[in-house]
Symmetry: C2
């Protein structure tokens, strides 16, 4: 491997035959698709096709780091999980923090590509250039908190595990892959846990003592010191209050989901009960950090008394509090901590889980399902009991939980009776907690994200509030309710985030005063390669287009780039709110035009040639 | 009855008990709801509830004339059919011309309300204040063209019949009630034929020699002479080329449906092959007139040679040519005449039939259904054979036809596989042939029409092109692509059309130089009542709100006031076309605000009190 910042090795594991082999990282692919999300997509695109069954042994489960992972580049402790999603049937990926990615790289691999299916439950142990497929029968049926110390005791005390809970074992389609045990970070979205479960793979444990060779070792080493003050000063909210620090701000902006997105007034006092400030003042015991992080937005909490005593570990993120909480009209913080821990232990995506339970609550309210369907549970808004029971039923595929565990789209098909009207998903993926009625570019971004309703693929909505990126043509945040230019903004930010997800940088770094200029400089330090701002954006564009091509192969086109009708027709009103309904089609057209895609949302050959995706 | 213009009698027929009774027309209801559509709605609203099964004996099938029907008011030869629709499950009505309404009134009744279910096929014979329930066993299984002369021979040579064909007998949900035999006028929409079929009622034959007493006999008598020149001069296109006269204009405007609304280019040459000019130059043999009509837009055609020789009677309307034709990419005029006659004979709504066949063609193209489903038919775009076979299969409920005959909404639920993406209906009623991408107010109008996708409830789109009504606040047509004011325009035109449908006036009179001032004058001549322009609009508003209340009782709200996503996201492009995607939510909000409805689309008590709908 000539490029610095990479190990140059990818581990291919075939569980059907209990075999593995180490291959050189494809250097030209790394050059074009960088790492993480982009490079993982390239492997998936080339090594699978439209006949690949997401839960079949032929599907690939790809864990991929980026050139920054495992170095001392600030906030680089991340990796990507890429696969065909069993939840949505299309491109699936999940970006996750923690210490696992850095451990993998230090153990001698840029990524692991798992195929096949093991006969018996297994786990994979990767360390210092070696790997082992081990029996996991004793771990099967246990949750992710339980197995973490066992795995450490069987491997190395400093090892990190990516593991599934019972939900993944049961191939629940909204299940996640969790890392780092109680300091849980989730590769939550797209049902990656079910893919892992379908392979009978309980965990991948990694530990490494190696070193990631970079181009300018001294400069990279100095980065934490050089940037720590700037990052901590600018990112203080993340440090002090975690991702939930902005919950009340979002409530006041009218972008917090309420009651399956149908409650359109204010929820001010309830929001205060569950926001990051309240958490910091009450139950917060400490923080935890991903590898190379300077902020430590991870909340470590412990409940020592009350009905949920015993909760001990990662506290709920903003998305979790919003989807399990406000979206179900629940404002009991301790209960939400318990529900969050349940999801983490079972390995359930809290966004999809909260979304589908709120969907079920609305179906219950409307009489489309009743107590016979719920097994006697009074599935009413605001019911903590109902929330907790449904989480268990989903994880165990019991009763109504079996249907809900398939996600909102399939649940609404199962329930029928016009329930699609309030099925809040895009391309089969449940909505994250940012109301597109409050963010015009956000709406276009969610609708066009490759994996479905995703706030991270573009983070477009944050460029309507606080972020800017003048180096790639975003000199200032645009007004949230402005229409013109929002299609373009969504595309530009998706290109940018494609790079962040491939280099492997935490996006919060952009809120912490770090600029694209800094990142390009870091890229030079790590890889030795100069990258002009145009190339930076173009590379992100290439990555985004490759994901689109993967989806086009599966039939995705303009018809799928849509928002749930509720966002297009129901206004949010309430004191201080601007009642906005996005003129969606206009912005989508601007988006396609800027992307150089056809009217039908298909990348045209000229564009693909320009990006080097078509010879 | 004190009011002039009415007979003052309503015939109630209970088919279960073969009984009838004549009741006085409720004078206060006539005062508030005028007649036709409005008065029919009032009877339906008061005499049924949300438990009424549309195809159960308890449903009412209401035939209602207006104060103008049967008088010499120009273009007044119309009546309304009102019922709970078995196609959509909500408010159903169908407005129809011909001579039947005038005959009914001259036979001594303002309307007929049918309930119950006859044991055996029957028909009803109404004449000169008397009525008879007769056996129709010998007519069952025959089409509407066949039975018309038989019915005349059994009753009176000048009698007119409202009858169902085999589709109505088979309770096909998109079946119509046809009047006047070969000079066929259709009460096409909402499956009124199925309601009639469910009651085992084959026909209602009416003949009258009575007189409709009006307030100012002399003035009313003079109206045809007074207005004929103005109407014929201004309405010359309707006279010469029928409703299809504008087909090529609509093609050029980008509002003609093409290929289930997904073909977005131009279709110029094909449109020329099937438009009203071509019809007039080739196969037109004459015109036919509704009662009191001065224009005669009805096309009488006869095909004497070629594969469709034998076609003889009503030629296809614009809606028929567009839905059976361009929407299926068929440009063979003679074949469309044959298909039209088949629909008329069977008693099938050509709009819904064309819509659901185009839907099936797209499902076939996409591989969601195949030849096994179609019974071997190659259901490809542009196939005349496929069109004709599918019409037969729908009428006879054979194979795939059984599912398609339930309309697009149920067909798409039956086919599944995301076919709802191209299910072009609103509230279960198939789209008429006016693209809301080309008419912003039209889109809001369609989405909020009480019976579902309806171009007639507001005719809003024509006020974006040629019509105006300064007396009720529409001084000029508004630009089609303007956004502001379009919600208000849609509401105002719906109020206006509520009056037209209740007085019973053909809407084409507005294209023929007649103004609201004229109509208010005529109302005075007929009834003796002064009506200020404000009262005119307010009465229309009352009627529209009553229909909304009927639907609200059935669960209709903002969630149902929507356009098929294709209209919101897919642009029509092509030479000379303006690629517009309506910012729907904004216009809908303006509409509700103007209507004085809640954010959820429910009329608020204050509004209902103002309209006299709530004491």
């Amino acid at each position: 491997m000539k490029l610095k910042g990479y190990i140059g090795k990818v581990l291919h594991i075939d569980l059907t035959h209990s075999k593995g082999r180490v291959e050189d990282l494809k250097e030209d692919w790394a050059d074009q698709f960088i790492g993480g999300s982009g490079l993982g997509t390239k492997y998936l695109y080339e090594m699978t096709d439209e006949r690949t069954n997401p839960l079949g042994p032929e599907n690939l489960l790809i864990f991929m780091t980026g050139p920054f992972t495992g170095t001392s580049v600030p906030l680089s402790g991340r990796h990507a999980v890429v696969s065909r999603s069993p939840l949505t049937g299309i491109f699936g990926e999940s970006d996750v923090g923690g210490t696992w990615g850095a451990n993998l790289k230090k153990a001698g691999f840029d990524g692991i590509i798992v195929t096949g299916k093991s006969e018996k439950p297994t786990y994979l142990w990767v360390h210092d250039g070696a790997w082992e497929i081990r029996d996991a029968s004793h771990l099967w049926g246990k949750d992710t908190y339980e197995i973490d110390p066992i795995l450490k005791s069987e491997t190395h005390e400093k090892a990190a595990a990516s593991a599934i809970g019972q939900a993944g074992e049961n191939q629940v389609l909204i299940s996640s892959i969790m890392t780092d045990g109680r300091d849980g970070r989730a590769a939550g979205r797209c049902g990656m846990g079910a893919v892992m479960g379908s392979k009978n793979l309980k965990a991948i444990v990694a530990c490494g003592t190696g070193n990631v060779s970079v181009f300018d070792t001294e400069s990279v080493k100095q980065l934490p010191k050089e940037y720590s003050q700037r990052i901590i000063q600018n990112g203080g909210n993340f440090k002090n209050y975690g991702t939930a620090g902005a919950l009340s701000t979002f409530e006041a902006m009218g972008t917090l989901p309420l009651q399956n997105w149908k409650f359109v007034g204010r929820w001010e006092e309830s929001a205060e009960k569950i926001n990051g400030f309240t958490m910091a003042e009450t139950i917060l015991k400490g923080r935890f950090f991903c590898d190379a992080c300077l902020l430590g937005c991870g909340r470590r909490i412990k409940l020592e008394k009350g009905p949920y005593a015993g909760v001990d570990g990662a506290g709920p993120e903003y998305e979790t509090l919003a989807l399990l909480g406000s979206n179900c009209l629940i404002d009991d913080l301790e209960a939400l901590c318990f529900a969050n821990e349940l999801c983490n232990r079972f390995g359930l995506d809290t966004i999809s889980t909260g979304g589908v339970i709120a969907f079920a609550m609305e179906a219950f309210e409307k009489g489309l399902i009743d107590r016979k369907d719920t097994g006697g549970i009074d599935l009413r808004w605001g019911s903590v009991e109902a929330l907790i029971e449904m989480i268990k039923m989903i994880a165990w595929k019991k009763g109504l939980g079996e249907l809900l565990g398939k996600g909102i789209k399939k649940a609404s098909e199962g329930i029928g009776k016009n329930s699609s009207e309030f099925a809040m998903h895009i391309k089969g993926l449940e909505m994250p907690a940012h109301d597109p009625r409050g963010y015009n570019a956000g709406g276009v971004g969610f609708a066009t994200s490759s994996r479905g309703a995703c706030h991270l693929a573009g983070l477009s909505h944050t460029f309507e509030r606080v972020l800017k990126a003048p180096e790639i043509g975003i000199p200032e945040p645009l007004d949230r309710f402005q229409v013109e230019g929002k299609g373009i903004l969504a595309a530009k930010t998706q290109n940018l985030m494609g790079m962040m997800d491939s280099l492997k940088l935490c996006k919060f770094i952009l809120f912490a005063g770090v600029t694209i200029s800094d990142i390009v400089k870091w890229y030079k330090y790590v890889t030795g390669k100069e990258m002009a701002f145009d190339d930076f954006a173009k590379t992100g564009e290439r990555i985004f287009n490759l994901k689109r091509l993967y989806n086009v192969r599966l039939g995705i086109s303009r018809k799928d780039d849509f928002l749930p009708p509720r966002f297009l027709t129901f206004k949010r009103v309430g004191k201080g709110l601007t009642p906005n309904l996005p003129p969606f089609g206009q912005m989508l057209s601007e988006y396609y035009e800027y992307r150089g895609w056809s009217e039908d949302g298909i990348p045209i050959p000229e564009k693909l040639k320009e990006l080097g995706l078509l010879k």
